[in-house]
Amino acid sequence: MFEPIGNETLRTMKILVNVMPKPSVLDPQGAAAAEALKHLGLAGVGRVRIGKIVEIELPDNTEESEIHRAARELLSNPVIEDYSITK
């Protein structure tokens, strides 16, 4: 995607920050969804965990370390969640 800024063009990218509760943290939402999936008739339902995905548009040249900083310091809470980044 190109967005004109003045006389220059800036290439942007979309990145996905995937945030999941740590395995050691209770995930009652996941447990409730697991029960509901069984009621739906889905066979062999194991553990279900519910996290979130944050999609961010950023300039193409954004430093990897800056994306990690955002994921670590705001988008996830390292006490209870793990994150991964997909470009």
Partner: protein, 211 residues
């Protein structure tokens, strides 16, 4: 003693706090808007409950970036007393002023009822008027009050006497059945090391105890 009650968009227990604090002889309370940047003139800060910023992202995650929170952090760092209740507790955890985090109640339900708490430590400025082992009966109301901290953090909290109250039954037993939200070790309230009595500044210790 003058209390600041921080008001975020979505705070809903701020008026209760001001009402309660103004009822204490010798105490007065005023609202401080989250866009304010100064706590000058205040002796203590209360971060009240509610749903700051609609609980977007995580409870308390956005409130941490409010201008007033920089002042609250400096206030706490210089030994000032900061009390976080409910969403305020979440905000203090998200801000790094308290260890751990609060997640969705184990039973998924919003819990609103009277609950027994056992006083674990009287070594803090928050619990010094209580006796160790005393059972209190207080109202609770929260949907995300399940306290989580890793094993190392829990061990440090225990070792440093930072756990102030735990959920218990009428007899003061901290059973699983008396834990309303799945909090680790039935923890209902903690403090940071600066609030332990030996570190309390004389200014705070000389104040009359609120009754």
């Amino acid at each position: 003693m003058k209390f600041a009650v921080i008001r975020f968009p979505g705070s809903n227990c701020d008026q209760d706090c001001v009402l309660a604090l103004n009822a204490i002889p010798g105490a007065s309370a005023d609202f401080v808007w989250h866009k304010d940047t100064s706590l000058a003139g205040f002796d203590a800060v209360v971060v009240p409950g509610g749903f700051s910023y609609g609980d977007y992202l995580r409870c308390g995650a956005i409130a941490r970036f409010s201008p007033i929170m920089q002042a609250v952090k400096s206030f706490a760092a210089s030994g000032g007393t900061v009390l976080g209740i409910c969403n305020g507790f979440q905000i203090l955890c998200e801000s790094g002023l308290l260890p751990g985090a609060l997640v969705r109640n184990k039973g998924l339900h919003f819990v609103c009822k009277h609950q027994h708490l056992r006083v674990e430590s009287t070594n803090s400025r928050f619990t010094r008027a209580a006796t160790k082992g005393q059972v209190l009966n207080i109202p609770i109301a929260h949907g995300e009050g399940c306290y989580f901290a890793d094993d190392a953090t829990l061990a440090a909290l225990n070792a440093n006497d930072q756990i102030l109250v735990r959920y218990c039954d009428t007899q003061g037993q901290t059973t699983e059945a008396s834990n309303p939200n799945g909090s680790r070790e039935n923890i209902a309230g903690i403090c940071n090391p600066k609030c332990l009595r030996p570190n309390a500044p004389p200014r705070t210790r000389l104040r009359p105890r609120p009754r």
